[in-house]
């Protein structure tokens, strides 16, 4: 908003950034970019046994404009890559990306002609979740790690 550059480093600036980061980490509206097997575990994470909503991250917004957190769940093929990139670009700042599962993180064991070897070759990633597919506990752990990361973010990054 233009204000950040003047406030960086000051007391007000750091308090403001703390408050903002606090709000952001507890209000992660997610855009589920679900493609493959991991989607099943993604459903499980949302369901009653694990309940991702406890962290305030249960609201899916299928419009990228309204989402803060891009969950890339499952294998991304080269055919799908431009779509993922476009969705990422359509998201409004601030935004974060979670690579859910081995395929999204690294291509998994699909080392072949059609699979993108990790979505970090296309878009920046904040948290990687290993596992094929990861257990819901891992997903919740990743979410908490992301929350920690958000809390530490400096003000000038939050344009």
């Amino acid at each position: 908003m233009g204000l950040e550059s003047n406030l960086t480093g000051t007391f007000v600036g750091s308090r403001l950034s703390d408050a903002l980061n606090w709000a952001r980490k507890y209000s992660l509206f997610q855009y589920p970019f679900v493609t493959a097997c991991c989607g099943m575990e993604f459903m499980s994470t949302a369901c009653s046994h694990y309940d991702i909503s406890r962290f305030g991250a249960e609201i899916p917004r299928f419009s990228p404009r309204q989402a803060d957190l891009l969950f890339v769940v499952g294998t991304v093929s080269h055919k799908l890559a431009p779509v993922l990139r476009k969705v990422y670009e359509q998201m409004c700042d601030p935004k974060w990306v979670v690579a859910f599962g081995a395929c999204a993180s690294s291509g998994g064991f699909y080392d072949n002609y059609c699979t993108v070897q990790g979505i970090d070759t296309i878009i920046p990633v904040d948290v990687y979740i290993p596992g094929c597919p990861p257990r819901p506990e891992q997903v919740l752990d990743a979410l908490m790690m992301l929350q920690e990361k958000i809390q530490r973010e400096p003000l000038e990054k939050q344009a």
């Binding site: 097997c37 989607g39 499952g74």
Partner: protein, 401 residues
């Protein structure tokens, strides 16, 4: 098509068709389907389905690994019912080898495949409910699945991608407390399923959305190569488990639920009824199963005990040979088919006598279902795409491979 749409009956009111692209990243398209729609108002006048967004090179990957290592790839075909795929693949390789698994192994495979089927149908039903806005029914369904997954985890060690079967046997026997656990879970699932029935079956809105939507006739369904619940919803009682009983299905008493007109509601009912049948099959299996070996007695196929591997030179060599070179499968070709969650899951295997498959083709039931989608949508509304697509239960991994 556009020209036809422009002409109205009295010719004075023009309507220009709108083209709309749905997906691949769209809440109802499972992330892997793109649909190009021609809309006349809210009516879908033409649609074109594009798949392939989840093509992961299943076949090419299988050609690069040994026969046993294909197993993890099969898990990820229909990832909603992975054990059905495991079983299907193992039976194909065994058919090529000309062997048959032991009795106990076959019973366990059946039990596990049926639990997987329950999970699959629950997911499908739940997802269609969710896409209609009935989020609560969806979560109940996922709870059922979660219970079942917890049980399968005690058996296979994994929640979703089990890789439980082996050529000629299984990874492990059932744990000793499987039966009481199953009974406890069955009870829980029963109440949840009753809740789902109560939420949906007689729900006026649900009925209106599902009845007479996405109708396909039996003849067209057959011509499109439909199998599984979608074919049965049209009234054709084709179920591989009855038509060509494999494993011990010939000893089971179960019904094939069939629909009448092949609309979404029929597909929903068929799936819900199949869940009941699966419960009954598991019950019968648990009654009939007897102690015994789970692996065939063939050192060329089955890994030796860990004791032998570490304690004797023969064991080490056998282990090494099977792991490094893979089991040897005689040259030939075979098509083996089983009833998976979505219908006939066929494996067409070609071997040239080496440790790796020369060709490992899977016949995905979704593939046939998906190509009929434009026909099932034509003339219905935009909103009808959602339940129709949901009731087909397209699984990206299986469809695009």
């Amino acid at each position: 098509m556009a020209e036809i749409l422009l002409e109205t009956e009295d010719g004075d009111l023009d309507s220009v068709p709108m083209s709309l692209q749905m997906g691949p990243s769209h809440p109802a398209m499972h992330g892997t389907i793109k649909m190009r729609l021609k809309l006349d108002g809210e009516i879908v006048s033409r649609s074109e389905v594009e798949v392939g967004y989840l093509h992961r090179g299943f076949e090419k990957s299988c050609e690069a690994v040994t026969w046993t290592q294909v197993m993890p790839f099969t898990d990820r075909l229909n990832y909603v019912s992975p054990l059905c795929n495991n079983v299907g693949y193992c039976m194909a390789v065994e058919k090529l080898l000309g062997i048959r698994a032991t009795d106990r192994c076959e019973y366990i495979r059946m039990i596990m495949a049926e639990t997987s089927r329950i999970g699959d149908h629950m997911t499908s039903v739940g997802a269609s409910a969710m896409e209609l806005g009935g989020f609560t029914a969806f979560l109940y369904a996922i709870e059922v699945r979660e219970e079942i997954w917890r049980l399968t985890e005690t058996v296979t060690g994994a929640r979703l991608t089990h890789s439980y079967c082996r050529v000629g046997g299984l990874k492990d026997d059932l744990p000793p407390d499987f039966e009481p656990n199953w009974r406890a879970i069955q009870k829980k699932c029963r109440t949840l399923i009753d809740d789902i029935h109560a939420l949906l079956d007689k729900n006026r809105i649900f009925l209106d959305r599902m009845r007479d939507v996405g109708v396909i006739s039996a003849d067209r369904a057959l011509a499109f190569g439909f199998t599984g619940p979608c074919l049965r919803s049209t009234g054709v009682d084709y179920d591989v488990r009855k038509a060509a009983p494999y494993m011990k299905y010939d000893r089971m008493k179960f019904e094939i639920p069939v629909g009448t007109i092949g609309d979404n509601y029929d597909r929903y009912l068929v799936r819900m009824e199949e869940i009941e049948q699966s419960f009954s099959i598991i019950e019968q299996c648990l009654k009939q199963i007897e102690p015994g070996p789970i692996n065939v007695d063939d050192g060329r196929l089955v890994l030796p005990n860990k004791d032998e591997v570490y304690g004797s030179i023969e064991g080490t060599i056998a282990h090494f040979k099977i792991i490094m070179e893979g089991i040897k499968v005689p040259p030939g070709e075979v098509y083996s088919y089983t009833e998976a969650g979505n219908g006939e899951l066929g494996f067409y295997l070609v071997s040239n006598g080496e440790g790796r498959p020369y060709k490992c083709r899977v016949r995905p039931p979704c593939w046939s279902l998906m190509q009929a989608l434009p026909e099932m949508l034509e003339g219905y509304q935009v909103a009808d795409i959602v339940p129709t697509f949901g009731s087909i239960n397209m699984i990206g991994g299986e469809c695009d491979r």
